[in-house]
Amino acid sequence: MTHSTGIDPNLPQVQASAKPRPKTLQERIDEFPWWVGGIFVIAIGAFYLVTTQTSFGEALNFIRIGIGITITTTLYAYSIALVIGLVAGLGRISRNVVVRNLSTLYVELVRGIPILVLIFYIALVAVPDSLGVFKTLGAWLTSNGLGFIGQPLAAINNDSISLNVRAIIALSVTYGAFLAEIFRAGIQSIGKGQMEAARSLGMSYGQAMRYVILPQAIRNVLPALGNDFVAMVKDSSLVSVLAVRDITQVARLYAGRTFRFREAYTILAILYLGMTLILSLVVRVLERRLHGNSRK
């Protein structure tokens, strides 16, 4: 099993160490990515089902209408979550007691509540309640002669914010807390010498963050951000509980209408799998490229 490393005087030592030892069959079997084969089998099976069985083809045709909503919901929510996450992540390490504690409170609240419950709560309780506040504020502003701000504020009613928008708000608030922790960890991974060097050159805290700390921190956490994007594609399925017509909701509608549960949910699972696999691949390629470029 073990190769002797050149005690044998007959072996030319330099050559032996320069050429890699050929892999044994057992090692090749162990290292081969068999799971990729499994993915191929699933892809071919899915293609076969959709092209040969009309019921699967119909299911795909119906359900794919939701792809647009799934993608746009994820993209909007993720972009907003990035902004919330950056602000809250900076807040978590702020020296200002109020800012730091508010940010921590937000992160801990969100992390302690199931996403599904948060989506219900934000869409059906928090949004209507804040609209009530806007209304009161608008009425007060109008009565104080600031009608140009007050009237549009008071005019926003519960119907004018669609469930799609509420779903995006709910997802971004939820993921904002996750991303805040990623940003915080990234910033804290940068040695304090960097901040000191920047400050010693006369930069303000904000300038040092923007030009020195964040560019390095974000580069460090890009893989984690990518992972959370993939996770959000999957969690966007939860917005179907708000009757947002993403692929999950459309699949449920299709199943309920036709009683073809096998077709509906097989297609649904394969659509998610396709999206997440492609995204994971993109993330992995980006990560590798970044790694190749990394300078000490």
Binding site: E196, M203, Y211, Q216
Partner: protein
Amino acid sequence: MATAASKNIIEIRNLHKYFGDVQALRGVNLNVERGKVVVIVGPSGSGKSTLLRCINHLEVETEGEVWVDGKRLSEKNKDINSIRAEIGMVFQLFNLFPHLSVLDNIVLAQRVVRGRKKDEAVQIAHEQLKRVGISEKADNFPGQLSGGQQQRVAIARALAMNPKIMLFDEPTSALDPEMIKEVLDVMLALAKDGMTMVCVTHEMGFARAAADEVIFMDHGLIVEKGSPDAVFNHPQEERTKLFLSQILSH
């Protein structure tokens, strides 16, 4: 009171600094005249680095006053950034910005803090790189340079801001022996040009060659100060003698 016109560019009075319960500085008084080179020596934990870091407010004094160029440093001082821009600092571990090229390392603060135009900042960066002798590395990244080269870039970065004072915090302690000289040569040239310098260093050769004043610190206090000859060859205090015998015996 120090004024902008006074000959002392740094005045430190009764400086105390605590880290929690640990007292790093216990009443330091120090004046540095314009154009003078002061070298601070002492055993580790004696407070030399803390003293240096108080001069540009990377450490905030617990008690006492630090005046730089006629301005008092304090927690409330909103001008701290503009005061720091006049004080270059070189760190033991270089602290170059690894995501920026050598040139951009030197350009960044010029543009952000000094508000210089890009062309001007780039030109000054090239001049400073030439001054420290590594013009050819402008487009490299810090990770591709040796320790000595990185430290020279750090010096160029500080000089590009046209500081009135340069602080050196053990600039050669993290370097391999064969790279120490290239950094010391740059520092010697700087001293010869009349730069006001405060250096924490163990390089006695540099201290003898460049220092106007050598300060020996121990346990958060200045024990002895004087010309290099006085402190190194005719130390008065027992603690100074002991320290010198320890570092010169090998």
